[in-house]
Symmetry: C2
Subunit: 628 residues, 2 copies
């Protein structure tokens, strides 16, 4: 079959490909780092290329491209790599804006203090070899040695291990290391002495998936990997994915495969980074909201979305890796944390394990910021939880210049209220490419403080300033002029962006108010901000836009990915699993869609920071903001 | 691709086939009932065809054919279907001798009296559907109902069942039937009330595999199927199969696949005969000698064959059907009975369960006749066992005119000692085609009684009679002239046949003698003959050829396939499984190859009925036999 030459500038990477492959597929095969949020589904518009030669050797411009590319781009021979197929030789340039950059894990993941009691433990054994006087079976010999040398009784053995046992025992000359899961089942037998065991803690978020490869003998994090949840192309929030599953008979199959493939990639990447084999990973613990949990297990999630909002199972679940199709030790288990109720799932249980609100005296609020936001309010007496569809705005999606926390992402912003001069910092100090989560919240807060938009969220049309202008999406504020960026376009925050932020923050705020009403409390004693970018959030900015009700600022703490921390805790200490099952049962879940006050609270919270509530701890700031 | 026409007479079945297929493959695809014992490996010589047209359109005559076909057959255009590939149009006749006939299960399998306590039991449930006041998880709801309505606690659930649970519960409108395995694990949830559960008991013999499909709610046998063990083409006895595995890196893989495919075929055939779906079969129990057991589980059996003869496991084993690749309910289990020691495996445990020798006062002998013969001797005090490689002669293999118990098989024979006139009966009263197991033993006994061969096993050359003659394999005795057969050839018993019978029977006899010596007993109070054709054996004939030491004939009982009965017992009553594990531990295994007396006993037992031992209970017969 005839093959066509494809070359990518500026890297100069080149190869030969058969017809019918898209340029995105070609780039993936060659390892060209080309951005693609939607994975080639044709809705994100991020895989822009400039065709230098051979435009006629590509399939014609599609409607998707006409919609997602600007006129100026179309005129400059821009194409979306996922939309054009190769029919002949092509040369293309990857513009700066389309270069995929690795999401930055900006600090070493913090160690979590926990006693090491992993579910998988290794035991070294030396046995007498069989003789005519001692002809017991290989398994019986192994079990006897485990009992005598390590006081382990009544163990079962995974069939796949039994299968290999005679050869392994003899290869190891009757000296072997046995991996035992939960003091119950033999899941591995290795020749000789092998002390180290590995496990992966996974947080499957609606938008982001993160994995932490851990050394189970030291508790150390050996490698971290994260990615866009590959299900994103089937819907951005849980309800739209459930709709997809209801509408398509193979929907569950497809979405399940996406996340299994995704976790397999994380297994591969972290194992490679740590320099270990995939079969060395002996256990995976996993958190996720109820919808993510169900789809991961290939359980139909549709009944979670409709009254009375029942899930398939609440208790924690252990499933053999081979039954799920995960590329790790096939006899190893995947432990999914329990589910609370409705969409408040294993991820929130992880947050609770990491924050332990049952130890509090004063009533506190835990906000897990994500596409599906989850709130817990309470103390040692009672805990209430709820879930709110915040959407992915605070994670950078649906924001015109939103991006992941990667080099060049604007993470800190200050705007002078009198001059509207902008000071900003980017990750890595590189030329700006876009705005990441923490930058989005801070930009909104600074624009509000400076009076660029009003308490209603509408841009202040009275304000005449060079940075204020009308763009394609209505009013917008120029943050960074294209001369200073690496992507060659102005970085702005638009009226549409503010509306998206507004919807997200008011869902959170209204949820908190409903929980406070249920608990019967007027003030909260502390706020914990959790979520992937929680560590970098400016808490004053978050309160200023009204992400949560008034609280003493020194009592607002950002803890980072607490759901992921919970997954790591149960990976390192199996006792935490019982704690998790216990707490999951005790939290009182409030279904916001059934709450009589939620809608009113939601409308009031649309204002910045709120239509009615006072913020004594922000008085200094708010009194400078125009009162409209 | 060009296709060639192939037509088979006398049925007239025809079809078109591409080059390179053998006539045996073509016949299989078309469903032409052509005999093939070795499954196309080219050693049995049973798939003879007469080529009517197109001899030039077949690949040339092979060495195998030259060896296995007689000169007269070669002259008459006979070919072996497995040895010639189609290169053009061919017309062939299937001679009577090559027509495959279904093995006859001559009597309905006897019911075995046992209390019905199957491991898989079904429970019907009616649940309240979820409401906003009762939002527990689907699994929690199911478990609660099982506890309240059936007093079942602490059940686990197979992940594959959890996966389907939300849909099944709602489809069944919260009325379902739950299958629980061993009061431990939920392995199926069906909508509505479904009372019947099915299971298959399988006996994997070295040469023959038999399966019994049972209704677990009534204990009734619904269908029976049996076949040649498909591993036969890799070696006729356990040691030769082990040699194959040692010599070939993919040997275990291949042999395992053969038996898994074989059991899958039995599942398919019996399910079809009973009119049920494959997934309705919820459990399989399986017996087999240690080598068959290991290969079925894909465990390397090589260490069983060499000192100190250790097996991978002695205890009974339960494995999920899906881990083995069996086409039945994937969440169902396969239960393998425990192993005693050496090659005395789960099959012998099955025999013990069915015969219960631990209840005996007098010392008895149990003989399980098979390619790998197994003996147990003892009583309520002690039990000894051993294994002897008898070879497949008593099952009809390696006997010139040996065949399976199918219509036309000679099963009963009488020979007049003075005239040497032969009276015989065939299965179904059809024209004779060959001799089946029970017929072989009886023919040998009658020939011995008539003085056709001597105590040494050598044909009596002094005897001049029309039926005595010299054939291609030395002396032979004409049983049925070709005019009376349906296969057009004389049916004889040859000197070589007698030698094969002699080796088999002396291995058994010598084994029994070694066990008697160990127990310290001179006489046995009873003999139980077990084995697939055991029911039809003439016990006087068996003792006359010296298959076992002297015993009162009314104390010799033939019980049929007791190993298979044992598999059925544990299928119907789970308590029998503990009994099996217990007895397997208590039997004293004697390794004959290490016994100092075995060789001498073996040589002495080569005589008919024995070189030295007296047979008081056969005195009437033996005194008429010439004393040479």
């Amino acid at each position: 079959m005839h093959k066509h030459r494809v070359i990518f500038h500026p890297s100069g990477m080149r190869g030969r490909f058969v017809s019918q492959k898209t340029l995105l597929e070609v780039a993936k095969e060659m390892g060209v780092p080309l951005e693609s949020v939607c994975g080639g589904e044709g809705w994100c518009g991020r895989c822009k290329l400039i065709i230098e030669k051979g435009m006629g050797n590509l399939t014609p411009l599609t409607d998707t491209e006409k919609k997602l590319l600007r006129d100026s781009e179309l005129k400059s021979n821009y194409r979306l790599a996922c939309c054009c197929k190769v029919k002949g030789d092509v040369a293309a340039t990857v513009p700066e804006i389309s270069k995929r950059s690795v999401q930055v894990v900006r600090k070493a993941v913090k160690e979590i203090p926990v006693q090491l009691k992993p579910a998988v433990r290794k035991y070294y054994l030396e046995m007498k070899k069989p003789s005519l006087d001692d002809t017991q079976g290989d398994l019986e010999r192994l079990l006897q040695a485990l009992e005598k040398q390590h006081n382990l009784r009544d163990l079962s053995v995974d069939y796949l291990i039994l299968k290999e046992l005679p050869d392994v025992l003899r290869k190891g000359e009757w000296k072997v290391t046995v991996s035992v899961w939960r003091t119950k089942e033999i899941i591995r037998v290795e020749t000789g002495r092998k002390d180290v065991a590995y496990g992966l803690a996974v947080d499957v978020g609606t938008t982001t998936v993160a994995g932490y490869l851990m050394d189970l003998s030291t508790g150390e994090v050996l490698a971290v990997d994260s990615m866009m949840n590959p299900q994103v192309s089937y819907g951005e929030d849980v309800m739209s994915r459930i709709s997809y599953i209801i509408a398509n008979s193979d929907g569950l199959e497809k979405l399940n495969k996406k996340i299994i493939d995704g976790v397999n990639l994380i297994l591969l990447n972290t194992a490679r980074d740590a320099g270990i084999g995939l079969h060395e990973i002996q256990e995976v613990t996993l958190v996720g909201n109820t919808c993510m949990h169900h789809i991961f297990l290939k359980i139909n999630p549709q009944y979670v979305g409709v009254s009375p909002f029942t899930s398939a199972v609440h208790h924690s679940v252990d499933v053999k890796a081979r039954d799920l199709g995960l590329n790790m030790l096939g006899t190893g288990n995947v432990h999914l944390l329990p589910i609370e109720a409705g969409f408040v799932g294993a991820d929130n249980v992880g947050v609770l394990l990491a924050t332990e609100p049952w130890k509090w005296k004063k009533v506190g609020l835990i906000i897990d910021i994500g596409t599906n936001g989850e709130l817990v309010l309470g103390n040692g007496e009672r805990l209430f939880s709820c879930s709110c569809a915040t959407g992915p705005a605070l994670e950078g999606a649906h924001i015109k210049h939103g991006m992941r926390a990667a080099p060049g992402a604007i993470e800190k912003v200050e705007i002078d209220p009198s001059t509207l001069e902008v000071h900003y910092e980017t990750i890595g100090g590189e030329d700006a490419r876009g705005i990441c989560g923490s930058g989005i919240i801070q930009t909104a807060a600074e624009l509000f403080k400076a009076g660029v938009f009003l308490r209603s969220g509408a841009f202040n049309k009275e304000l005449k300033a060079p940075r204020m202008r009308k763009g394609a999406d209505g009013y917008e504020f120029l943050l960074v002029s294209k001369r200073e960026t690496s992507v060659g376009v102005d970085i702005t925050m638009t009226q549409k962006d503010i509306r998206a932020i507004q919807l997200a923050k008011s869902a959170m705020y209204a949820g908190a108010k409903v929980l406070m009403k249920r608990f019967g409390v007027e003030k909260i004693g502390r706020v914990i901000l959790a979520g992937a970018f929680g560590t970098y959030i400016d808490k004053r900015a978050a309160m200023l836009i009204g992400l949560f009700p008034d609280c003493r600022l020194d009592r607002v703490v950002a803890v980072g990915n607490a759901a992921g921390d919970g997954a790591r805790l149960v990976l390192l200490n199996e006792k935490k699993r019982e704690e998790a099952d216990e707490v999951a049962k005790q939290v009182h879940y409030i279904e916001l869609s059934l709450d009589p006050f939620f809608e009113k609270e939601f409308v009031e919270a649309m204002y910045f920071p709120h239509m009615k509530d006072s913020f004594p701890h922000l008085n200094n700031v708010l009194k400078r903001v125009s009162p409209q």
